[in-house]
């Protein structure tokens, strides 16, 4: 147990990074995923094609590979440097990878949500002269979002767990920190694992409950 108490600040730091990765990637993925969903139902075949290709490519690529590619390839191709600090730089590269991957799932969730909106609503919107953009923004998406709150919650929980894969490019979040602690305290592996497992339960269980409650509260009554 001693190891766990001694290293408590380190563990806390690691989870704080996990939370930051989750929130930043979640936000970017939500925006990107919504745009992609819009593209996939748009009148332009070329936009639909790009959206579909994006979703199929990202959904079928292992996240580890996406993140490795972001760490090695993106830094190279884009010549981007987010910060003079290497660790901050790699944090942002991993956020790009996590959001690019998660956006594909957000897109699919929102598209499923769009399908729950009754046909009559969209038809009525067209009848009063709303364009595609207005139709989507004013009528369809607000209802679609409320229908997919629970799935979005699942995606957020999956994202929380997926941030551990940022370890692949050396981002010192919870999983990499746990491994480092394992190496330093070989006699306290069980306690350290229990500590990190508990940490993830604390992060994911309330998220699930919150989104379950939100989904009930905001459900569109039909």
């Amino acid at each position: 147990m001693q190891a766990l108490f001694d290293e408590f600040p380190v563990i806390l730091d690691a989870f704080w990074l996990t939370i930051r990765l989750t929130l930043a990637s979640g936000l970017v993925a939500l925006v990107l995923g919504t745009i992609l969903a819009g593209m996939r139902v748009s009148p332009l075949p070329v936009l639909r094609g790009i959206g579909t290709t994006y979703v199929n490519v990202l959904r079928n690529t292992p996240l580890t590979l996406v993140i490795v590619f972001c760490g090695l390839g993106l830094g190279l191709v884009l010549d981007v440097s987010f910060s003079t600090s290497l660790s901050t730089n790699y944090m942002w590269l991993s956020i790009i990878g996590l959001s690019a991957y998660t956006a594909a799932f957000v897109c699919e969730a929102i598209r499923a949500g769009i399908n729950t909106v009754p046909v009559g609503q969209a038809e009525a919107a067209r009848a009063i002269g709303l364009t595609f953009g207005q139709n989507l923004r004013l009528i369809v998406l607000p209802q679609a979002f409320r229908a997919v709150i629970a799935p979005l919650g699942s995606i957020l929980i999956a994202l929380t767990k997926n941030t551990t894969i940022a370890a692949a490019i050396g981002v010192g979040e919870a999983s990499l920190t746990m491994k480092t602690l394992f190496e330093a305290h070989g006699d306290a592996v069980v306690q350290i694992f229990a500590g990190f497992a508990l940490g993830f339960l604390i992060l994911t269980l309330p998220t699930g409950l919150l989104f379950g409650w939100l989904a009930k509260r905001l459900a569109v009554v039909r």
Partner: protein
């Protein structure tokens, strides 16, 4: 004015829109102006996309990532045979072994969660919920280090990856099994009990045969997830496909970026193939008349939304 001149061209165009494309309820079938606007937008999008590709290609070229010696290794048979295929084989065998163990694991714990006895229900529930809440990579690290620290075993990366995959995916499969069994209309179980079958018999003879049909697509879809997750083994030095791309190939040709791109394409092809099987199974079981229940969605699946309307999915 222009309407007159475009009149002859309009009919075939509209006919095409109505026949080959599924009509969306989100927008009107484009008239002459909208079609011109759409065409302009299409051109703009294509130009923008081409520009993005061009920028990326020049950047890669600047960094010498497009030079011939980076890519020619992929045209050689021996590179595939000796460096890439062993990795692919390891990936597939880890996925296969994990799947073979995870499916029974899922059935045992999924049925356990529906047990008549409270303690079995609770124990199975605790196991399933715990392993679903813990990130897979954390599990793999724990197996790797815990195996030697606690049990004095040398855990190979292969074993660590397989155990991690079984615990996580087995737990998700348990949820699929539970949902599958619960999706069978309640009357069937009641009727079976009423004619004198014992609970075990009801499960074995009435519920499971139908549930398997219902949950097959979800199980196969989960196996795609499992296959993708084998790539985590790369982080613990398992010699999988990703390892071939990110460690073995670059150590020979110093071409990590081309290698990762080629490996990504292989993953995508395999996953699309398995995914196609899942879709095909789902269509089959939707048509199936063996059970009244409809195919279930995977838990945690982003498209697990109830209801439906007629907005065609493009």
């Amino acid at each position: 004015m222009t309407a007159v001149t475009t009149e002859p061209a309009r009919r075939p165009a509209r006919g095409r829109a109505e026949s080959s494309e599924r009509v969306s309820v989100l927008y009107d079938i484009p008239g002459p102006k909208a079609r011109i606007r759409n065409n302009v937008l299409t051109v703009l999008v294509i130009v923008a996309a081409l520009f993005a590709v061009y920028v990326m290609v020049t950047k890669l070229d600047e960094k010498n990532q497009l030079s011939a010696e980076m890519w020619t290794p992929f045209l050689r048979g021996d590179v595939w045979l000796n460096l890439i295929l062993p990795g692919l084989l390891n990936t597939l065998s880890a996925a296969a072994v994990a799947a073979v163990i995870a499916v029974p694991f899922g059935f045992v714990f999924g049925i356990g969660r529906l047990s008549e006895r409270a303690w079995i229900r609770l124990a199975a529930g605790a196991v399933v919920e715990f392993f679903r809440a813990i990130p897979l990579l954390i599990m793999i690290f724990a197996v790797m280090f815990g195996g030697s620290a606690v049990f004095g075993l040398t855990v190979t990366p292969f074993a660590a990856v397989v155990v991690g995959l079984v615990l996580y995916n087995g737990s998700v499969l348990a949820e699929i099994v539970r949902a599958g069994i619960l999706s069978i209309p309640r009357g069937q179980r009641e009727a079976a009990l009423a004619v004198g079958l014992r609970p075990g018999q009801v499960m074995r003879m009435i519920l499971l045969p139908q549930a398997v049909t219902v949950m097959m697509p979800a199980i196969v879809a989960q196996l795609v997830v499992l296959l993708k997750d084998t790539a985590l083994g790369f982080i613990v030095s398992f010699e999988d496909l990703l390892n071939a791309g990110a460690r073995v190939l670059p150590s020979n040709f110093n071409n990590i970026i081309p290698a990762v791109i080629v490996i990504a394409i292989i993953y995508i092809i395999i996953n699309v193939l398995v995914g196609t099987v899942a879709t095909w199974l789902e269509m089959r079981s939707r048509r199936s008349r063996k059970t009244a229940a409809q195919p279930i969605a995977r838990p945690d699946s982003p498209t697990a939304v109830e209801g439906g309307l007629g907005n065609p999915a493009p």
